[in-house]
Symmetry: C2
Subunit: 130 residues, 2 copies
């Protein structure tokens, strides 16, 4: 995978002189637990039941419920019925919109890394005492 170029062109606030605003880091996706949930769902495109997701994301029932509610309300995640007819189970699945927004979000994350990583790896001339 070529990670040298961002997933897609990022709309940066360069024209207004604010390259570190990172407006594209959508608050719905950026929240740590929701970022984990969405990454989990994007890698399991057929969907996933609540208990499995809870385990893979290390979240409590209450937390996962709350974050799923936000994601469903934003139409990034949808509910689907599982394949087992005898014991029907609700699956959560990332929506087409969710996939699109997630990709846009990743593009900004990649931009953050491109901006910060080279400088962070360089030891400054005069290192602060802290």
């Amino acid at each position: 995978m070529d990670m040298k170029t961002p997933v897609q062109k990022v709309n940066r606030k360069t024209q207004s002189g604010s390259p570190f605003a990172y407006d594209g880091l959508s608050r719905v996706i950026h929240e740590r637990a929701r970022l984990g949930v969405l990454t989990c769902l994007v890698t399991h495109s057929r969907g996933m039941p609540f208990p499995e997701m809870k385990k893979l994301c290390a979240l409590t029932d209450g937390n996962l419920n709350r974050h799923l509610q936000v994601l469903v309300e934003a139409q990034l995640v949808c509910l689907v019925k599982g394949p087992e007819r005898e014991r029907p189970q609700t699956f959560y699945r990332i929506s087409a919109l969710g996939r699109k927004r997630y990709l846009e979000y990743l593009a900004v994350l990649e931009q953050v890394i491109l901006d910060g990583a080279p400088a962070a790896r360089t030891v400054p001339e005069k290192s602060p005492e802290l």
Copy 2:
């Protein structure tokens, strides 16, 4: 820059079966505005005065103040006196600890991208209707 390999090895919750927990996304750094501020400061290792930072990060006085306070309390950012003797100005500078924590944080971000990007770029067999 080689972005195919993470900045450093990430301590993932794979042993406990929670690969999407992303515990390493420190809440102090992950908050969007603070991530912008730290990325700004890491790329300006000599430090930066408040007004310039405010502009580059597109933050209000109140917001930048609040976020800097959190970063200073966490010892990720420190205050230094500027070089101009006649008009002394306070500069904010990323600390050695801040640089270390920022690099650790970036390593987890890179892991998120490595986990999510390949799947997100693949169109699923049965695309949800949303």
